[in-house]
Symmetry: C2
Subunit: 382 residues, 2 copies
């Protein structure tokens, strides 16, 4: 049987599961008595245990960041572009850990898993978790894996926020933070978009106050709308224009509310397919974690003061056409790091793809990323 | 009893109604056998009938552009800032006509009025009308009022598109077109936002295929979501930041999906109050008219060719922080007019308020507008 995977792929991967019995105190004041984290690893941990890389996922991501779950998979993990042999996160040198966050819907404990106290799905009883809580749970996983210090914690968007929080909360346990297409906190407009998405889900009659699992339904309409809206904010006006323009699906106008323009067809498809693979309660929870993220709030609302807690090196990357987390937002982080006298590299990448650019195979972006990661590998003896 | 209205207000106004029996052929191929238009007028038509101004409204607007319907009204009409004695559209000089468009929901024939053929509400049987159709129906109203030629046709946003279409379709009947915060066609991103709003309404279980009037319900949730989303696109990131920032409603986080941030409270209020005053079928129809607007399409997709049909003077205005119809979109119109050798004044106004700026009392904007309208008044002998 011929090798079915590209030579720069990590190939076939299998998720692992770690159970934690030590209660986790959450920022909200609530406590998770026990929980599971599902994760994947790529590459080998070296003898010095110094080459560990933690990948943090964004709103709709999960632990499956690279490789394939079966030879039949049509697509690899969500960041296969950046993770693999010879890629920026080079699995020939690094041991890469990618975890499904608490509250996620792909195996880690969350709303769609059973609450051990009741035997029913958690649903709305699952506590709202924050970026800080995720980082603490990820630190427990690092302990379980015997990794005292990550060579780097890396993420884009909400993932980049986790990398930033890691640097602040566990300065001794992280050598580098790679913060891509992120922000140090959401703007009122960002929160507003999240709120519309949440209201779409919360007001869907099939949401049933979050207990839809027991009813055998899902709030399809709400989740579909949330995803359609999200997609608009992930793309740039320019990239949507280049991809779809005003192209019609039929040769002439139909004068109705069916699909007239190709962009409508694309959005509906994105919305409908998302419903098949994602959980509405998790979507609510992830958007709240985004809203709440504001590491400076614990330090007198002064970002440099928060960042002075960190001691790692930083790579910050932004994309010119990203309007969800625009370059200005990355520059705020960079400025905060410079004011805190921290070591930061910054790249603002010319890209037309909007926020989604962080997932794309853009040579300039991957070159910068790769160069930085080579330095990291050399430094930690990977 | 003291005079309850400000001295620069048109004061108490009463809507008028005009019935039309001559069938109106629509761009879609369908025919409206008869219809009513509701409108208001401010100021006096001069003897030469040369001082008529037509105001065209935007997506959620109506005929009540200035003044008050009763002494108890808390707010005047939607463009009272610009219309009144001594204001840019000076009712001491001009006779101003403001019409509720066909398909609207404030008295003109539309989905929420009875279909004479059935005696039931039109609902989804009301034909989809286009900007071109509106202009033709407005021309019928001009005839009924004895106005052969408007001194100016004026509008912002979708209203500006009507002014542009007037200039192209009825060059002999319009001396000036004032096109504010508009675009010569929607981008894929604009259409995408409209599509999310439409899907919110169409998938609301209380939409009942548009026949909700008979059911005694309205698609509240859908219309609320559409309006919340619309509001985000009317404001700028900057103005939302200045207005709300990350301000909390309570002193500390609640860790739930109720209102945490002030911006959420604002959006929910905007969404809920819109449901009380607007019709979902009309919202669908207005967004489609926006999507379809593309006057160049009839002229080989060449905007200058379309604009060469026009012979009026043009004032085009845009606002720096408007991202719904950004200054670039107004510059496309200006460039098209220059390529067509037409007479155009253009002002790009520094403003933080986003698309909503066109409704605001911004001195620089009103000065430019007023100066242009003084020239119009002098020219037409108003």
């Amino acid at each position: 049987m011929p090798e079915p995977f590209p030579s720069d792929s990590v190939g076939l991967v299998t998720p692992a599961r770690q159970h934690f019995d030590q209660p986790l105190e959450l920022v909200s004041g609530r406590v998770l008595e026990s929980y599971d984290l599902v994760y994947e690893t790529y590459g080998e941990l070296n003898a010095a245990r110094s080459n560990g890389i933690l990948i943090c996922h964004a709103l709709s991501g999960d632990h499956h960041a690279a490789g394939y779950h079966s030879p039949e998979d049509r697509k690899p993990g969500w960041w296969d572009t950046a993770i693999g042999p010879g890629k920026p996160i080079d699995t020939n040198r690094f041991f890469v850990v990618s975890v499904n966050n608490l509250g996620g819907c792909k195996g880690s404990t969350g709303p769609n898993t059973p609450n051990p106290a009741t035997g029913q799905f958690y649903g709305p009883d699952f506590p709202i978790v924050t970026v800080k809580d995720w980082v603490n749970s990820q630190q427990r996983l690092a302990e379980a894996l015997g990794i005292d210090r990550w060579a780097a914690v890396i993420g884009g968007s909400l993932g980049g926020m986790q990398a930033l929080q890691w640097a602040i909360d566990h300065p001794d346990r992280i050598a580098h933070a790679v913060v891509i297409a992120a922000a140090s906190k959401l703007s009122a407009q960002n929160i507003a978009f999240n709120e519309v998405a949440r209201q779409a889900i919360l007001t869907d009659p099939e949401f049933h106050d979050g207990r839809y699992y027991e009813q055998g339904v899902v709030p399809r309409r709400g989740l579909m709308l949330a995803r359609m809206l999200g997609h608009i904010t992930y793309l740039s006006d320019e990239s949507m224009g280049a991809k779809f323009g005003r192209e019609l699906r039929e040769q002439k106008l139909q004068f109705g509310y069916g699909v007239e323009f190709q962009v409508e067809s694309y959005l509906r498809y994105q919305g409908e397919s998302f419903v098949e693979r994602f959980d509405a309660n998790t979507y609510l929870l992830m958007t709240r974690a985004l809203d709440y993220f504001d590491p400076a709030a614990d330090y007198g609302n002064d970002l440099p003061t928060a960042l002075r807690r960190a001691s790692c090196g930083f790579l910050v990357v932004s994309f010119t056409s990203d309007w969800r987390f625009a370059p200005e937002r990355s520059r705020e982080i960079v400025k905060g790091l410079l004011d805190a006298d921290r070591n930061v590299s910054y790249a603002e990448i010319e890209a037309t793809q909007g926020h989604d650019a962080f997932l794309m195979p853009l040579p300039k972006y991957l070159d910068v990323f790769h160069a930085y990661m080579r330095r990291v590998a050399d430094e930690v003896g990977a």
